[in-house]
Symmetry: D2
Subunit: 260 residues, 4 copies
């Protein structure tokens, strides 16, 4: 049983990377289930129904989100109807959409997917540790996969270690830079601090470098636009063990599609 | 001409990693010059003269620092006398110590080393972009190596790209998690977002996991203590090109020393 | 029925202000109950049992706290035994001490006191709005007084207005600067954004000005020490209406005791 | 010689307060010069040329700004041509507009006006202490008035005390809540931590309370709109002493205009 989890898809370049690169990975690696972080899928900010459908069309099973969930206002129109779209669970009760879902793979195996938001240098959401601890008993699944969308490395590693042995994987997103610390922790949970960027290679976090550089050097507000050119898909492949409900291995993925 | 730059050394475990792992790397890779980030070298918080001397004794040529520079008050006693210790350059004028140095390798080649602090989610220091831009003409060296000690990936990538072609390397530190994005940028500057942790493998950023986890879940203040057990050395090796003053290659290093 | 609520008491100078100035205020204004914020009462950082007893001895009935609650480690020894000491309610479940208390005034009237911490630019605690909403039905009292210890004015005014008509008073603490916006809101809740500083007049937030100024201009860590000299008591007097359980009036207090 | 400095003007309600309340204040108090913070004058976010002209038409001589300077993109079209509009001085060199100005009052007296931005919980601008220290020798004026637009009370009081005796006034803006700590410091500088809100009385910082409350309780993004109804003008009157170039007195102003 093999899972592919793809890091933050940024705009058109990110969607192109999925379209061009994912089919071969799925086939070669015999992937059973694909999750991707889609919080920047529409122009770098949020997601629309059309973009979500496009990504499902390419073969992504579930999309997770993050602090950019609400950037595109269209989401309020369809989030309650899209059962494959998961926004951070630790928003207050009553938040539109769902914070986790359980999905059945062809074989009948059930995969629970949870999205959590960090709090350090982030928004004022509920405690991700307590939220997940209270949620876990409700997830009736063979494997639970957590996308922890957070900034601070201490918080991410902390959550991974805190739930080591209790979930199949804690996979970090948000920084748009893939980390090299992927590992199955001692109790069996697959962990990586960040899956990285799925989008334009020559960019700053998937955006054209000019505007972020102007912002960094002038402190004046800038509109950011999605980078074009060569694009990459980053993520991990996690091998899951049906007997334990935990992970056997975690392998980093980074593929580049040249723009010719 | 080959440079080894080692990521944040955390406490005794980190120093042990240097002692046990660095000699072989230096020999096998024929390293000419070693720089390491030492802001957490003394018990995880700051550095002492004794610890600095210990690290120089192992064969480190220059130590850079970061936001933890002043954690151990002893530093004020020796920082002005230790010409191999570089604290962030973009502190205000009049700050003790030096923000850059130029060092002569045996061959007569001169290496400039600059330490810069990021501002996003960090302290209120001077603009790192402007600081470096103004400093560069003063650095009389064959190669300039920048340790950019920062949190936000956008700021780190931004600085790397802004100075692409102007310095030999922009290497990130501070997050204690090695990133997998090492690369020679298009104009010849070696770049990585973070060199990672040199210290205890089973840890949260080099500290025993209990206290950070308690802090994360209770929000109560905790004393942190350095992790023991297996230890790792992380960093990069940068090949430098004397003709251009830029980088030919950048390769990630991660070695583990088992505690037996 | 009249309540005096005193702003953050900072160190010895703050305690002296209470000792020298409070008795006359209590007598002249016929105060029935006194609450004070004591998070900086011991040397500017936290509180000790001895300092708490000293303040109760001067006639303070209840002490509230804030983000500095745990600065002095002694608090863990006595907080569970001191029923007049209230720490922020919206720390996680299991936090030592209590987040609210109900106190009987001589006349048999019951006053509920709640301490809440803000989240904007503050620690990662539970949502103060939701916490208070869930707590209110449990408070069996004639009046409920809330000390909202927070930084951002929007969060403080927001909480005041959100609970307007539901509690007798929402009184802000933490900034150590008294605001001039005291008012009974339209549904009957007494509100002020900040009660201000009880401590040294010639100071920065109650501390000698040299060290904070050094910190602000050098960014180097400094030890702060409590200011001496003239001292002030700041706070408000709230007149409570037994029929409604709400406020009739709120009046700012600022008295200075010259150090001769 | 008397100066009126008006706190952050928020939207139409704030401009109405200026129109309806300022003429009487100017006449009764014999005001010679009026400065106002205008960073929220256009719909709560930034300023337009039309709004600036409207405010000058009511008798405001100089407008200062803050962290919201660039919210309305129109400002880039006219800021370089409007010599009465002052944006924070401690933005990087090359920022459009000017960070200070010197204005001649009818009597020939020259008033220097400086706008500075704080850094704590704010943007990454240059050090306000160093910026002002370096600027002061260049200001050829009888009096220098500083609008310190900042969040943290320590930074505001710190700057006031640091420049006590060097400028005629350090007046805080940004929190939209007037503080009650106005005072002439020991060396002659008039100081207040915040001038407060000029705008709708029944509001959260000048905005209708519904949206900020929704933001605070749901963490979802909200559009804010300017409050209507009764409106207030807040600020201070500073009496200046030509012999010393410093302040004789500082008096808080708060006037309400009922909406009938
Ligand atoms: Fe993202
Ligand atoms: Fe994100
Ligand atoms: Fe570090
Ligand atoms: Fe650091
Ligand atoms: Fe305080
Ligand atoms: Fe506080
Ligand atoms: Fe404002
Ligand atoms: Fe502002």
């Amino acid at each position: 049983m093999k899972l592919l989890f793809i890091g933050d898809i940024v705009g058109r370049a990110g969607r192109r990377a999925v379209r061009e690169l994912m089919p071969a990975i799925k086939e070669e690696e015999e992937i059973d289930f694909v999750i991707a972080n889609g919080e920047n899928a529409a122009g770098g900010f949020g997601i629309t129904n059309k973009v979500a459908e496009e990504l499902y069309g390419y073969g992504i099973d579930v999309l997770t989100m993050g602090n950019h969930t609400w950037d595109n206002k269209e989401i309020f129109d369809f989030i309650d109807d899209d059962s494959n779209l998961i926004r951070p669970y630790n928003y207050p009760p009553g938040t539109p959409g769902r914070g986790y879902g359980v999905y059945e793979v062809e074989s009948g195996i059930k995969i629970g997917v949870v999205n959590l938001l960090g709090r350090i240098f982030m928004d004022n959401v509920d405690c991700p540790f307590r939220s997940l601890e209270e949620l876990l008993p409700d997830i009736e699944a063979d494997f639970t996969i957590v996308d922890f969308h957070a900034e601070a490395t201490a918080e991410k590693i902390g959550l991974g270690r805190y739930f080591d042995g209790e979930v199949a994987a804690v996979l970090g997103t948000h920084t748009h830079v893939q980390t090299a610390d992927e590992k199955v922790l001692s109790e069996g949970t697959a962990y990586i601090t960040d899956l990285g960027l799925t989008g334009g290679v020559e960019s700053i976090l998937g955006m054209k470098e000019e505007e972020p550089l102007k912002k960094l050097t002038t402190q004046l507000p800038q509109r950011f636009s999605v980078a074009t050119g060569d694009t990459q898909l980053t993520g991990v492949i996690v091998e899951l063990d049906l007997e334990t409900g935990l992970a056997e291995s975690i392998t980093r993925v980074r593929e580049v599609h040249l723009n010719q």
